[in-house]
Symmetry: C2
Subunit: 642 residues, 2 copies
């Protein structure tokens, strides 16, 4: 387990956090009563609300803020489309099989795991402190035969391993095979050898149609549905460029994950780049990684674009907007970096790609990919179908082009070349401007020219002055037609959610460590907990009134009128990440005043019903912070409820 500190400086204890998340039903293994299926999870009520709130924030931050065109395209995709897009041939991971146990490993992950284990053993042998993941160690003790612990390595080999790990994302199948042979990488559980890596396509196959006779796949990304609708979206946008479309939905790539994706047609200058240019970011470019290092460079995105570290303004604009989004969710700036893909790592459609990565106890997790897909997808679909996936713009000033134009005397040309006429004409049409210029001079000088035409006669054709004319003329172009470039940011909601949870998680000091999830109010599954002091029936009408008023204000709330102590009930809700609590006590029955508790500081204020409701609404909407409220309303110290 990588060592990652929480906000209070303690380490993240993943075993404790994980058991808390399952106990509170943020998520739970799917089909658990049937033994479960590795990698498939269900979201329980708090997890579902958290994802819904994150998605809502995403929609506001990206779609509404910039008037993007949101679409919802079908999940089933016929074979032909993903063949054209390159996914059938190239959307694959390199996998190794252990022929004895049948286990299957992702080749790069296997190399990484074994080399990291050896480096750890080396550190131990050298007497350095090693952070141990007890759960993992316990599992290893049970089944691992292969990796010996505490074996000292040569200094040179340690350096080699470290440099290999820094570049691990850059190796393709044959290179991974070399590493496996060179370092004798084996199945860590059994010490058995593994077969050479094989490309394994990540898409789920299925059949479409009433007779199931059309082969297809579950979509591996939400982008294709947007590319295919390009012409209609451009029309919907009243033919105006640039524009962006967005899609929220599930993608299926050997893991099924809720994703949200954008496509933005690229423009020379991003009109709103100026709004973000001073934002400081941590960047890790491909050259640094290739040199065997993972040291980030800190600079503003304005500088990064200016120096060419980030290729263009549109890409830079989205990297900055992605960072702002992740910080809104509660992610920790010091655990966020943007890493550029290395050449071999990039998807087949990408010309450039930067990942937003969040640091967790699993290491750095790739959470948002921001790919520059250039004109790749629109071009392949256009070439395959002939559909006009292009922009046609009337030029404000017509373009005047000086060029050599060729005219043929068709009356003589046809009878002369007969069945070869078309081939000869195509060869002449294809002549470059340079060649045309030279030929026009030849024609003037000799009265005839020779043109190469493959497959006709001797491969050369003679043309005389009476059959061909070559002249310099001016052509006027009123319309510009082009295939636009596309930037595609793609968000893995599940990964962002898990990483963000590690960032907002901490333990409150006390007799026993008590977990707290400090979600920002905007994404907290429930905004307010209503806690009557006891089960006394006098409190019931008050909590009912509060709950219905809060519902009308659009503030999600829950009542906990169980008989547990107030402290226990608040502890339970700190685990659920509920940012605020309202206590209903005997004073409330008398004078209709209530206390309001802040989850993070456990401080309380007391005020009238209207004031408390207004404060909660303002906090939930993000109009005020707890500090603002604490300044406005009188502090309350009557009860101990933390």
């Amino acid at each position: 387990m990588a060592t990652v500190a929480t906000r209070t400086g303690q380490e993240v204890d993943r075993t404790v956090l994980d058991s808390m998340l399952r106990r509170r039903m943020f998520y739970t293994p799917s089909f658990e009563i049937y033994g479960g299926v590795s990698g498939l999870y269900d979201y329980g009520p708090p997890g579902t609300a958290l994802v819904a709130n994150m998605t809502d924030l995403w929609r506001k931050h990206f779609v509404l803020e910039e008037d993007m065109l949101e679409v919802d395209t079908t999940m089933l995709t016929p074979h032909e489309i993903l063949k054209t897009s390159g996914h059938v041939d190239k959307f694959a991971d390199w996998m190794c099989k252990d022929p004895k146990t049948g286990e299957i490993f992702r080749a790069d992950h296997l190399v990484e795991e074994v080399l990291e284990a050896r480096l750890k053993g080396d550190k131990e042998a050298r007497g350095q402190k090693v952070v141990v993941d007890e759960e993992k160690e316990a599992k290893k003790k049970k089944k691992s035969k292969g990796e010996k612990k505490a074996v000292k390595l040569d200094d040179a080999l340690v350096k080699e391993y470290e440099e290999t790990l820094a570049q691990i994302d850059n190796f393709d199948g044959p290179e991974l095979e070399k590493l496996i042979n060179k370092y004798d990488i084996r199945n860590p559980a059994t010490d058995g050898p593994v077969l050479p890596p094989v490309a394994f396509n990540l898409m789920f196959q299925t059949s479409i149609g009433p007779s199931s006779n059309m082969p297809g796949y579950l979509r591996p990304e939400t982008a294709q549905g947007q590319f295919l609708n390009f012409a209609k979206l451009l029309e919907f946008n009243q033919q105006s460029m640039p524009f962006a479309s967005a899609s929220i939905g599930k993608s299926f790539r050997n893991e099924i994950s809720p994703r949200a994706g954008l496509l933005r047609v690229r423009w020379q200058e991003a009109p709103r780049f100026v709004e973000v240019k001073d934002i400081e970011m941590s960047l890790l470019d491909r050259n640094v990684q290739l040199s065997g290092s993972t040291k980030v460079t800190k600079m503003t995105i304005g500088q990064a674009v200016e120096t060419g570290l980030v290729d263009n303004e549109t890409l830079g604009y989205f990297l900055a907007r992605i960072q702002l989004f992740l910080l809104k969710l509660g992610c920790d700036f010091t655990k966020l970096r943007f890493r550029q893909h290395m050449a071999n790592e990039m998807a087949h459609y990408a010309a450039d790609c930067w990942d937003a990565e969040l640091q967790t106890s699993y290491g750095w997790i790739e959470c948002v990919g921001c790919a520059d897909r250039s004109a790749y997808d629109l071009t392949v679909h256009k070439n395959k179908t002939g559909a006009p996936l292009v922009v046609r713009e009337t030029r404000s000033e017509p373009l005047r082009i000086e060029e050599f134009q060729i005219d043929l005397d068709k009356k003589k040309f046809g009878p002369r070349f007969k069945k070869d006429a078309k081939t000869v004409e195509a060869a002449i049409e294809a002549l470059s401007q340079e060649l045309r210029e030279k030929l026009s001079l030849d024609l003037e000088k000799d009265g005839k020219i020779e043109v190469d035409v493959e497959g006709v006669g001797s491969g050369k054709v003679e043309l005389e002055k009476d059959i061909i004319t070559i002249e310099k003329r001016t052509r006027v172009e009123n319309v510009r037609e082009y295939t636009p470039n596309v930037i595609e940011p793609s968000f893995g909601i599940g990964r962002i959610m898990y990483s963000m949870i590690e960032h907002v998680y901490w333990s409150r000091a006390g007799d026993e460590a008590r977990g707290v999830l400090s979600f920002p109010p905007a994404i907290a599954p429930t905004k307010v907990l209503l806690v009557p002091l006891s089960t006394n029936p006098a409190f019931k009408p008050l909590t009912q009134r509060l709950t219905s008023k809060l519902r009308r204000l659009g503030v999600s709330n829950r009542v906990d009128d169980s008989s547990a102590s107030i402290g226990k009930r608040y502890a339970r809700n700190d685990e659920l990440g509920t940012p605020f609590g309202i206590t209903v006590d005997f004073q409330s029955v008398k004078d209709n005043s209530f206390t309001l508790r802040d989850r993070d500081s456990t401080r309380q204020v007391r005020a009238s019903e209207d004031e408390i409701l207004q404060a909660v609404k303002s906090l939930a909407d993000g109009d005020e912070t707890w500090e603002d409220i604490a300044k406005r309303l009188p502090e309350f110290t009557g009860q101990e409820v933390d």
Copy 2:
């Protein structure tokens, strides 16, 4: 096409409506540039927003209003689970193949189509008015050889056809085969015969896992994920009964559709039934349909439960809540009915089922299913896995049960029956209370008894007083353990959306018929259109300020500053169903006042910026209606903008 009138009394012209919906990109055929795939559609920007708003309303109406537990479970489901649930064997439609063309028909739809065509021909021959669907007719002319038009039928045969159609949902495969033979039903396009109906499973098959070796399906319903999590949800609800869970997501059943589903554990009395009992509903029960009629009964849901027409309060409560939801969306009460499933029509898991059906130009469309699944699913999963999918309740007063208990002297019993001991003991344990009472008397009288034990000796076993004792004793039960019954309402969002669109669609009278979609503000894709009078740059800062203020108020809006006339721009937005419009004119530049237009009445009011913004917010949130606003703010009649 069925004849359905819009609110202005005109007929719904589906060809016109459909082309408008595609032109405005509510939806569009998926993969159209690749030729499209029948039945797959993408939602464009207005369609996506409409579905999102409908889903949001659904969540408020059902989940938040009743504190349901919302979950989000995985879409991939292993074979074993759907085998246990009965879907692998029974989730099928009866399909017929035309062996010559390879076309595949749903058998009931084929019978329906052919009989309806013959009835239409009969009406024509009798000189009655027949409403003609021109698009359909045009297609038929091209390919139909089989169905002759205008053939008069025997009066008795007409009656037979009509009665068959009223019961069409009740026929199974063999019965459909009989109908096909009896009435000589053929492929309408070619007049070729079709093969007998075959059960065709509706689920999409795929493989799960890195080596794709686990067979599975895309979930055919969202309910299974909720059933499998039953024990955890009960725990999350602090073991308190009853409760409801909810799930929003896609289901895959030979069509992929966004669905929202609930599960509610049934209770003797529905606590909130009293709130809905006076709601009037149109009910079509199974007995009426079996008698060959489709005449609905109008009564309150309270009466329906009281008379037993609707089986229980929980079911009745949800039928009423479903009706309230559909009316909130803008559905027309006169085009809504609840139809009870007939015995053969019900899904294998259902004990009873009512569908909310909406009337459209396609006929009555089943949009919401409300199934009483009793304890079926929880029982089959419990039996298969042994997981305790039950409720355990401490009885407030222990239950005392008088019963005949049997004791065996194991020391003598084992040696006596040897390898048969277990079988004999099981047979004795299974004896009913009645038999035990009789045997206890026999034992007292004769000193021995005879018990039937299949497969042991002669099939009868003799037991003496010294080996068996039968006594009446009192057993005390402190805990009640039971498998609860479940009501499952399931909403097909896409079907509801289409049907609702037909209900809110009408044409404005004028030189040319102009389409209007009268969405209620809550679900309209965009709430306000901002229209500057012209492209004069003086208007730009005002529209920009309005748009950013509206965004902060959470009111979705769009600017149309194209050079089209104001009337044209409003007409475009009537087609998009935008309920309100703000005009920015020269008066606005002078005194910061604006006009606000109502889509349905085209009436306008004029007031200050603050008043207009407040009115729009209030209209969008549903706090006020246009009538309220028109009373408060001065009418404006300056411009003609309808």
